[in-house]
């Protein structure tokens, strides 16, 4: 919660430089600029949260920053996302749904049955730690120094004491557990809108902005980074390893969350719309943190 106010401080020169750098990156990826113009107004809420003085009976929620009234359009605007490819997206939603029930869920259930929880936790910790540098860099991009420090310390501690990250000795230290940042959030932090909503086959819901973010994060993950800068680490940088690792990570992650997708889907009148809205709300809340 306190995190939210950190970026408000305007620390000195190199923060500005970093911002400039980020903006440059953003401009270079021309599609994002396009995304910004396509998307709705920046959903960044006003800094102060003075709740509007509404009648007690009005359905207004003081915990929403800006304290808007639901009878006005603003609220929907912050959650609305352009969906010009709805036909394609709905088709992909169905494809992913089938993939979940036919492939991912059976795989994750079987895996869960065979592999004991401590091992699954360790695998989860390992991948989480492996992506620590990505989160660290995104904290820096957003000028969240304290969070960056936390990421750095956790990565150091967990890679060494935690044996390459299979264990998480930093778990109980709140300073070493900042909010997770990714490049999509970094772009959102600089008020880049979602662009349009895209459902990728296999990868699931995303937006134009978050897709660009995903590519950025992919480039920053240690193995692809080595590959990009032409470090040949043999099997470590091979495509097969990359794909295999992605699969293991996905199955392992899902093994902790079997049933969640079904629950949200069953609770919806229009699952496609429910997931689209949930995706946007979830991303907005992460950007606000």
């Amino acid at each position: 919660m306190a995190e939210k106010w950190i970026p408000a401080g305007r620390p000195p020169r190199w923060c500005v430089m970093l911002r400039a750098l980020t903006m440059l990156i953003v401009l270079l990826t021309g599609s994002v600029a396009f995304a910004g113009s396509l998307g709705e107004e920046a959903s960044e809420p006003p800094a102060g949260d003075e709740p509007a003085m509404a009648e007690a009976s009005d359905p207004f929620d003081p915990f929403d920053q800006g304290g808007e009234d639901v009878f006005e359009d603003e609220d929907e605007a912050s959650q609305a996302v352009a969906d010009p490819m709805e036909g394609f997206n709905r088709a992909m939603f169905t494809v992913n749904d089938k993939l979940y029930f036919w492939v991912l869920k059976p795989a994750a259930s079987g895996y869960r049955f065979v592999v004991p929880t401590p091992v699954r936790s360790s695998v989860k910790n390992f991948f989480f730690n492996l992506l620590g540098p990505v989160r660290f860099v995104n904290c820096l991009f957003q000028g969240k120094w304290r969070a960056a420090e936390g990421e750095f310390c956790r990565f150091t501690v967990n890679t060494t004491v935690g044996m390459l990250g299979f264990f998480d000795p930093a778990k109980d230290n709140p300073k070493m557990n900042p909010h997770e940042e990714d490049f999509g959030q970094t772009l959102g932090y600089y008020a880049i809108g979602n662009g349009c909503y895209i459902v990728w086959p296999l990868f699931g819901p995303s937006t134009l902005r978050d897709t660009v973010g995903g590519v950025g994060d992919w480039a920053l993950n240690p193995f692809s980074f080595m590959k990009l800068v032409n470090v040949d680490a043999g099997a470590l940088t091979s495509d097969t390893t990359n794909v295999a690792m992605y699969c293991v990570r996905t199955v392992n992650d899902v093994s902790f969350r079997i049933g969640d997708y079904e629950a949200l889907k069953n609770a919806a009148l229009d699952p496609y719309e429910a997931f689209r809205n949930a995706y946007i709300q979830n991303r907005n809340s992460k950007i606000a943190q």
């Binding site: 709740p51 007690a56 359905p59 929620d61 003081p62 915990f63 639901v70 009878f71 609220d75 929907e76 959650q79 929880t117 699954r120 936790s121 989860k124 910790n125 902790f256 969350r257 079997i258 049933g259 629950a263 069953n266 609770a267 919806a268 009148l269 229009d270 719309e273 429910a274 809205n277 949930a278 709300q281 979830n282 907005n284 809340s285 992460k286």
Partner: protein, 211 residues
């Protein structure tokens, strides 16, 4: 000296108000008590036997229902379209939506309770009548943030009007769905649609109870 006097007055004020305030239940306690009860029910060996699912579901519903203000939830979810509902439709909608939500989520926790722990992180009160209670569901190594937004009523009772799971507001999620349905359909048709979902759900629950 003056500061100490002020402190004394403050102390007195706090002490004086303390007992009176205790008569009204704290928002977090309003969440915690029923959740503890539900977890107890989920672990109750009495309900481990086959054929007791329905009884357990009813017992959970009895505990959970008073926690929520379903009228407020409905009003917020339907938002500006609420004015299009007649009084009878409003009542019918609140009824069916409450049952639908109850069924969906009780089904979920009943079917998949694996000793998840609930951590109560804290509460925030705004304008004296709005509160947000922050909790976390801890499942193995996964932590799922769940925030309860509540309102205080004249009788001093706090009740939930929205649940935010991982930053996703339940009310707002339904709001977009209801809005797009009500763009093309009448309120009575939305109520019918919910009723259909509910029947479908009940059939599935009964079906799963039998095998």
């Amino acid at each position: 000296m003056r500061r100490r006097l002020l402190a004394c007055i403050l102390m007195l004020a706090v002490l004086g108000i303390g007992p009176a305030a205790a008569a009204f239940t704290e928002p977090m306690a309003v969440i915690k008590a029923p959740i503890d009860e539900v977890i107890e029910l989920l672990n109750d060996p009495q309900y481990k036997e086959a054929g007791t699912e329905q009884a357990q579901r009813n017992a959970i519903w009895q505990i959970v229902r008073p926690m929520f203000d379903f009228e407020e939830i409905s009003r917020r979810a339907v938002a500006r379209n609420w004015n299009r509902f007649t009084d009878a439709e409003k009542k019918a909608f609140v009824d069916v939506f409450a049952q639908f939500l109850g069924n969906t989520y009780i089904d979920k926790i009943q079917g998949e309770y694996h000793n998840e722990k609930i951590v109560y992180l804290g509460q925030e009160i705004l304008q004296e009548v709005y509160a947000e209670v922050k909790t976390q569901i801890v499942r193995e190594t996964v932590e799922i943030p769940v925030n309860y937004r509540m309102r205080k009523y004249e009788e001093g009772q706090w009740r939930v009007y929205d649940i935010i799971v991982e930053g996703v507001s339940l009310v707002k999620n339904y709001r977009t769905q209801f809005a797009s349905i009500l763009k093309k359909k009448r309120p009575s048709q939305l109520i019918d649609q919910l009723n259909e979902k509910l029947t479908e759900q009940n059939q599935r629950l009964v079906g799963s109870g039998q095998d």
